[in-house]
Assembly symmetry: none
Homo-oligomer: 424 residues x 2
């Protein structure tokens, strides 16, 4: 079914509170086979709530309204609904009784404020009458309109327990089956992906492909929707396989996985350990790795060698080498990687040295020039990249590239430097 | 002025991506003296984008549209605008030229895809023509409509540099004089701040004070709005002074400053150098420091010592000490701080060791227990904190606390541990 979500609250329109309710509801409704055609956020103003509600009922098959159901003076959703839909407010004695018994231990709440909670638009069906959670269903023009509290955990509870089950059985509602997968890529542009997959885009009406740059990655979503579960399953498997073939190892992970998750999984699986030596990425590689719970199983540690003296003392990079080639160079990257690998007794050492900017660039090595060293059993290599962007972007690209190189090493899919260079 | 924000994207309506752009824009527009009357989120469907746009222009004084400006086939905002407002699309050769020169090192991008970016509705004024960031202003029925990219950091850049200044000077808009300051605090709760400042909140009608938890900090915004510039200036100075007096050194910075900026400024000013030793914060302290341009002036480097062997080899922490007190202990934190300070020949050494979770806690040292070591000339101390939250939150709190301790050391305002403990 096609739905619309309306969130009510001054705290949302003034940017004090991030609206996670609509996001959460949309994701779960989508997964249950529905499609949200629009989301609106309005102030605690009855005329505006009413206008949004009427417009939504007009164009959607169902509507979800969150917020404005509480006892305080700025909770005006019920009043707005009564006015907009021409429904008198009605007193629900059982609602008041339930609330009073639940709040017997809170004598500070004024009776008059609580009574407000029991005056609802005529025809309201309380969603969870066995609790004191506010929330009801109104059927208007044969369309279900759900009013849910703005308090996230209450909204989530009613959505899961009441809204989604009711919608699934809604008379006349067309029940879809949905499968979705997110493919995450790095080192390939949105345009390149788009070009490779263009022929898939409009091939089947019930298959959708979307592209989302989530810096520094590009994510791709595949969604298959149909009334026939078998058809959904068959199309889904077919497209997943095609996308994997077309993008091959540009896809580093799927769904919730991060690059660091994938690298961690590969290291664990192969029983290998990793240590890092960072200069321009300044600790970001180590930070990404250690964000993963359980990373102490394969991550030994790292050195952030910002000063040359630090590179010498903590990584054993020789002064001669630094003087001859410079701190930002292939030989230094190799020496850092070999140094950290040897000192930490790790299976793999990865090193990053470059110019994150905004200053420090030269004609030969402009801002964005980054060298990577990769040391593993019997082999030490270096890679040169030219990244574009500001300091933050160059650091992010550097850290993600370091992890990507480790991923490719573990998969035995390292690409020669000249192929990769300049991709970003 | 009254504004409306429209966010465009299937990834938003399907609940794949949380819409932080509208939230961010609303907060900053509010702080600049505007009011957002509604926010809409629509799919990548030209008819729906167009309808939302027309409705917004109808009821608001200005409109902000984010998303759908990119090169791929699902970026349809420009097409929707042209259709809805009856404006022919026009080719902007300078836009194409700028994009091509910026992407010269990315030969894989097809010209045709890039060309799409240069076809804009007639009358579009490019917001930042000196960059390749998409974004333009259209004036319709004398109302400004800003089209911004969906990529958050680009949207934020245009909002701050172009949209808010343009709106402030908009003809016909009721020109307010506005002064605003953001005060950033750490280690003090929103409720505490609220209690300290409550008497200021409703004292003057043209002064607004807002609280925004921006994890792990709490930010406070002061906005003074009036038609009379002199009055604004006088009130502004008065409130800034009062807030500084009331919150004292709980305020670590103002406006755009980060904690790492402030620490960097203090280190530079005092001609001192810093080195870090991290365990549970996993590189995040170093990352925060090195995000600041010019940090190589005072930051020598860091060691992320995840394994005990790493702590011994890279920081000189003795096995005996580790065995006696454990890796997560005051003595180990002190030894790490003194070790990194001595080896790096830094003026200040800061160390972090703790349990970020989700596993590894015990009754004596539950998840969230973090020790900090602080070594400076002739003095080495340790501090114990008990943080609440998930792994990510504990890491963020640990890193920010490490920087906060260095800030307080440099200001000679270190608070005894028993006062600080358990604040988070």
């Amino acid at each position: 079914m096609l739905g619309e979500i309306i969130a009510v609250g001054d705290e949302l329109t003034s940017g004090r509170t991030l609206n996670t309710n609509s996001f959460y509801a949309a994701g779960h409704l989508f997964a249950a086979g529905h499609e949200i055609i629009a989301m609106a956020t309005v102030r605690d103003t009855p005329a505006e709530i009413g206008a949004a509600l009427k417009r939504a009922i007009d164009r959607a098959d169902f509507v979800i309204v969150t917020g404005g159901l509480g006892p305080t003076s700025d909770d005006l959703t019920n009043e707005a609904v009564s006015r907009a839909l021409g429904l008198p407010t009605t007193f629900y004695p059982e609602v008041l009784g339930r609330i009073k018994s639940q709040r017997a231990h809170r004598p500070d709440q004024k009776s008059r404020d609580l009574e407000k909670l029991a005056w609802l638009p005529e025809g309201a069906e309380i969603l969870k009458p066995e609790t004191s959670i506010a929330g009801y269903l109104l059927v208007h023009h044969e369309k279900p309109v759900f009013f849910l509290p703005g308090i996230p955990h209450q909204m989530k509870e009613l959505l899961a327990d009441k809204v989604i089950p009711r919608l699934a059985l809604w008379k006349g509602g067309f029940v879809h089956c949905v499968r979705q997968k997110i493919f995450k890529t790095f080192g390939i542009t949105e345009t390149e992906i788009n070009r490779k997959l263009k022929h898939l885009e409009n091939r089947d009406q019930n298959v959708r492909i979307g592209y989302y740059p989530v810096f520094p990655d590009v994510h791709l979503s595949l969604t298959v929707i149909d009334a026939d579960l078998k058809k959904v399953e068959q199309l889904f498997q077919q497209y997943v396989a095609e996308i994997h073939t077309l993008l091959a190892d540009s896809i580093f992970g799927v769904d919730e996985e991060t690059m660091a998750d994938v690298v961690g999984r590969l290291l664990s699986g192969q029983g290998k350990t990793l240590a890092v030596a960072e200069s321009c990425s300044g600790g970001l590689v180590a930070h990404k790795i250690t964000k993963v719970a359980g990373s102490s199983q394969y991550f030994l540690g790292g050195v952030v060698a910002y000063h040359n003296e630090f590179k010498r003392k903590f990584l054993g990079v020789e002064n001669e080498l630094l003087q001859k080639h410079g701190a930002v160079s292939g030989p230094t990257a190799q020496a850092m990687a070999a140094g950290i690998r040897g000192l930490a007794k790790a299976d793999i050492g990865i090193a990053v040295t470059g110019i994150a900017g905004p200053t420090g660039g030269s004609v030969e090595k402009p801002v964005g020039t980054v060298f990577f060293g990769l040391a593993s059993h019997g082999n030490t290599r270096d890679f040169r990249f030219a990244f574009a962007g500001d300091r933050w972007q160059i650091q992010e690209l550097s850290a993600q590239t370091a992890l990507e190189l480790v991923r490719r090493l573990l998969l035995d899919k390292l690409i020669a430097n000249n192929e990769k260079e300049g991709r970003h």
